[in-house]
Symmetry: C2
Subunit: 243 residues, 2 copies
């Protein structure tokens, strides 16, 4: 049998002892974004155990030996929010040697978007420790979670420009002003109102409803709904969402 040194590498060797290579833990961590009409927020938990007791952390868990990474993330999200079918996207894998005190743990980071109104913390789960934080208010975090969050925010800001995922953060029905304000806070910029309208409406991705805004102290705006099917159809014909 070959020794470790004489082999080309562990992966392609004939009959190596692979035991030391199968000693990793894998976790998933999911940065959950929401939007309450004013601020972009992120769902953080306060750790109740060591290490990093009391620190803020991104929800996550170790992946079970017979569990898919996506399945694990959905499990975490379900335990946390009670919701299924949340927008989910893999972000980056953090695999530094010393990133976790318990041992060698590589974490697959995801980020997800949800309508903040759909979220009801479930009392039976760890979600009792969970809360929405404005993204500016995040301080020190457990492990390398601050780094993970920064990557997630950066990805979200890039994503939101070339894919119509902003709607995942809004209620089913929204005004054009709602949409504009979301983009403005998300991207930290200002848009001209009239031009924003034009740009969005000419994309033909919104269904104008026969409903108006209510309980508002001025002329109510029309409500719209995102047309996911139409976006799919347009995408296949080469349409590309932009800003």
């Amino acid at each position: 049998m070959q020794t470790l040194n004489s082999r080309k590498n562990a992966y392609t060797s004939d009959h190596p002892d692979l035991t030391p290579f199968f000693s990793f833990g894998i976790s998933v961590d999911c940065v959950v974004f929401g939007y309450d009409g004013v601020d972009v927020k992120v769902l953080v938990i306060e750790r109740g155990t060591e290490p990093y007791l009391g620190y803020q952390a991104i929800p996550g868990d170790l992946v079970h030996p017979q569990e898919d990474a996506v399945t694990a993330t959905q499990r975490v999200l379900r335990d946390l929010t009670g919701l299924e079918n949340i927008y989910l996207e893999q972000l980056y894998t953090f695999a530094g040697v010393d990133r976790h005190p318990l041992g060698r743990v590589a974490t697959i980071a995801y980020f997800s978007l949800l309508k903040i109104g759909d979220y009801n913390p479930r009392p039976s789960s760890w979600a009792t420790d969970a809360q929405w934080m404005p993204i500016q208010a995040l301080g020190e975090m457990a492990f390398d979670h601050k780094e993970i969050f920064d990557a997630a925010l950066q990805r979200l800001q890039a994503r939101v420009r070339n894919q119509p995922i902003g709607f995942e953060l809004l209620p089913e029905e929204f005004t054009l002003a709602d949409l504009q304000h979301l983009y403005e806070t998300l991207l930290n910029t200002q848009f001209d109102k009239a031009n924003f309208r034009k740009k969005i409406l000419t994309m033909d991705l919104l269904i104008p409803l026969d409903k108006m805004q209510k309980a508002v102290r001025h002329r109510p705006a029309r409500l719209y709904q995102f047309d996911a099917l139409r976006y799919e159809a347009l995408s296949k014909r080469g349409f590309h969402f932009e800003l």
Copy 2:
């Protein structure tokens, strides 16, 4: 001590037996792209051992217990090409339960770009089995490597539009026609020659050299060089490369 069922989850529990969770292998796989002036190519190896004996595969290896993922990828690339400092970007992590016959292995996929002229296969390494394949010519591959390759190609095509990484695939000195042809084959489109020139040159990212193309049976074109420092400076001022 808590049991598995009573805990919130493995990650946050107090004193659980985490042994079964630390049983994963982690590998890295790297899709290496090159360009020979005509075709976009990818570096594949022919597997010399089971499983998937004889199949084409993407170069990769198991990550060592005390090794960073990026370090592992650089090691694989160095063993394969003899090169350091190759453009490297993390792509996606594939963590399906049954993707590897040897056990539970999650693989962190990377893709990298190199100047094909710099590559000299090293006889002492597994690179003797490595060869450049035109990306259209890829057939069945070992494991889920075809899926990994598809993701890498898709990412490359997207990346090349908003970041000036095409130059990683060209020699230090190149003509505008070279650059245009690279983009055309990479993106599978056609550009107007005059307009392509204008667009690229107005970005002010290329250094015009006092050299001309040689050994060519027509009017020789000027050679250019990518100005990485200038790109860095412009980026900080908010410049955004596009197409």
